[in-house]
Symmetry: C2
Subunit: 421 residues, 2 copies
């Protein structure tokens, strides 16, 4: 595309979204749910067409030599399409956050004041994940009354466009502005760059993918971005930990699904328990295929463990690799997390009520846990229903983001002629 | 200052604030309130010294030829210092938002999940207002458990530094890290620019002042900014308005305090009521010294009214000037506000319940009112206590911002050994 074409295309997307946002904001819940059911039905009945479009992406991925893991993530099967439809149905079943009265009061002068939940407006969603994210994001934005501009990864573009066609048909057949959900139809990066400058029309950008994608988005965006760069999650095994519980939690946090942002990347162990605990957990972790790096004191307790470098402590491995450090105290564990952590999710294992409370109070992360696996840091596990992402930012939304986090509020004031004196 | 000096100074401010944030976040309410009472007492007992420092600013302002209005705003008198102390005491009396459990649930697996309110961390507050804002901002940030870096206008620098000395003494005498409240001690703009790049240490910037200041801050800041550029507030007098109520509200919204962001800048009148309403309100407004601009239809109804230019409709006058437009319909009023407004505060005057609800639903502003003056859009009037500012942004905080808006939340999860399956 020429730069003129790009700016025309971006201008259209952005203006269409802004106009659609005004109409989707005031749709009734039943109309929105009707569209979602139509999307779910459409996905199922178009299963063959979706898999055909998916074949084009898969063929290109093979030609490009993508790893078999990536190709697996990209693949749409009957089962996966059924799951995608089911996820959209689950969003339809969630409570509509729009119009909720958050709080309200009557002032001494009789003014009735409410804070009412309203959609944010136009969301830009930039992602590089599996094609099912397209349907999830469309459903969450629609249910929360927002217009959304979707921009998926180029590897999945034919699959994403096919899913988007079903969304567009469901919108049209329910007389809803199809521009409520638009999809960028080209892999041209200039289009993304243009969108990231369209702060007059796009209220927020939510990027989801690798750290590189997210840093590029943050750097270029002129509107607010809600994101997390990475999850360097810690489990701290306190002096007063139940060793059996600590083992179970550590194994789960590291190995149950190592490739996700809420998996453990660093294990901190109190010195008074290290000599008994570390060799045992190290053996178990190694049996599960985990490669260990340690501080000098940890290395002295576990044979053949490589020494961790200063950079290791802030790395998000997303694979079966773990850093291990022996700490002098709870304070040193908290300081370590403040220094090297990513403010995503951190857990303490302890039976000491005071240690637990200090950890919860003083670790400044989006999710802090006592005696539970870091893997629970997730919208579904927290009961939010589907999540649009996880935020390690402090403003607006922190931790798993569900429907509510796709809304803002307005102050609604009802009077009977009051004036200010 | 040389650029090395600037970066050393900014680095110190930012690092000190980050370290202080960790300690102020976990202070008990009674310690924080003790500091606030000590600040209030300190302001009163140092009244003479404050007025002496203020004299230096006033002398410089006179030499610089500042307007008498600006000099008046800058002046500290006994009464104003008493009011400043009283405002700090009122913040002490507000409920501490830190630690509030926003919501919570027990999951089927027994995990107890809470969202707990916590401080944001480090707030950068950049302002050009009266010196009392220094004490207000320090008090609000301290009470909400945040560290703050204050940077006031250069006209008030000696007054601000004198107020800050009292704050610092109150912190020290209560054994609280004095770096909880730091003040930039130089008018050098390079220091502000440096702070706006210190996103590793400063979590949010809140600017307060003219549109020029705020645009400069937004342009340079690499961290989130909560702000409003301006208040182009509308009153829409509907076909079914009570004319007497409409007059009272319009007069109050325009003339009670024209220099503030929630004063009316544009009056929209439905065509069916314009012929009777407009000439009367125009006469009253003119009697109060208001200069009127109008659309052609309004000009046809009011003698000697200048025609409003296209630019006028989006101007924030902050003085006794008003634009007047006759609209065909409620829809046209809503469209006008969407096109020219600033999403700050807009009001409808009507007895028609349907018109009222449509206005409340469809006007996408931080505050929308029915049958009340726009002047009520204010933290104090809404019952928040003191306000740190007003936001027309959609993320995090919208409208008047009190203590709660200076906080975020964390997810606190308590388990008994749960792992994810």
């Amino acid at each position: 595309m020429t730069s003129t074409d790009v700016s025309t295309y971006v201008g259209e997307l952005a203006r269409n979204a802004r106009a659609a946002a005004r109409s989707v904001a005031i749709l009734s819940t039943s109309v929105k749910d009707g569209v979602l059911i139509a999307i779910a039905d459409g996905l199922l009945s178009a299963s063959a067409a979706l898999q055909e479009a998916n074949q084009t992406d898969l063929k290109a991925a093979e030609d490009a030599g993508l790893s078999s893991a990536l190709i697996d993530r990209l693949t749409l099967s009957d089962t996966r399409i059924e799951k995608m439809a089911q996820a959209v149905r689950e969003v339809a079943a969630l409570r509509d956050p729009v119009g909720e009265v958050i709080d309200g009061t009557v002032r001494p002068n009789g003014l009735k004041i409410e804070r009412v939940r309203v959609p944010i407006g136009v969301v830009g969603f930039i992602y590089e994940s599996r094609p099912n994210v397209t349907a999830d994001a469309a459903a969450l934005c629609l249910k929360s009354g927002n217009a959304v501009i979707l921009r998926g990864g180029k590897e999945a573009i034919q699959s994403n466009l096919a899913i988007h066609r079903i969304v567009a048909e469901a919108l049209e057949s329910n007389d809803v502005d199809p521009c409520c959900v638009q999809m960028v139809n080209t892999p041209d990066r200039a289009v993304v760059d243009g969108l990231l400058q369209a702060d007059e029309f796009v209220d927020v950008i939510i990027p989801r993918g690798g750290e590189g994608l997210i840093r590029a988005v943050v750097e270029k965006a002129t509107m607010p971005v809600i994101k997390h760069y990475k999850g360097v999650c810690h489990v701290y095994v306190d002096a007063k930990a139940d060793p059996g519980m600590a083992e179970t939690i550590c194994m789960n946090a590291k190995t149950q699904r190592p490739g996700v942002c809420n998996a453990m990347e660093t294990l901190l162990v109190h010195e008074s328990i290290a000599a008994s605990f570390l060799p045992r957990i190290a053996a178990q972790l190694r049996e599960a295929g985990v490669d260990l790096h340690g501080c000098p004191r940890a290395c002295a307790l576990v044979s053949d463990m490589a020494e961790a470098s200063e950079e290791n402590w802030s790395e998000e491995y997303l694979e079966l690799v773990l850093d291990v450090r022996v700490v002098d105290s709870l304070e040193q564990a908290i300081d370590h997390i403040a220094t090297y952590g990513s403010a995503h999710t951190d857990a303490i294992v302890t039976t000491d009520i005071n240690a637990a409370q200090r950890f919860l109070d003083e670790v400044d992360s989006s999710t802090v846990l006592v005696n539970a696996s870091t893997r629970f840091s997730d919208g579904g596990e927290f009961g939010l229903g589907a999540e649009i992402g996880i935020s390690t930012d402090k403003l607006h939304a922190r931790g798993p983001m569900g429907l509510t986090e796709l809304t803002t509020y307005k102050w609604v004031v009802r009077g009977s002629g009051q004036i200010r004196v």
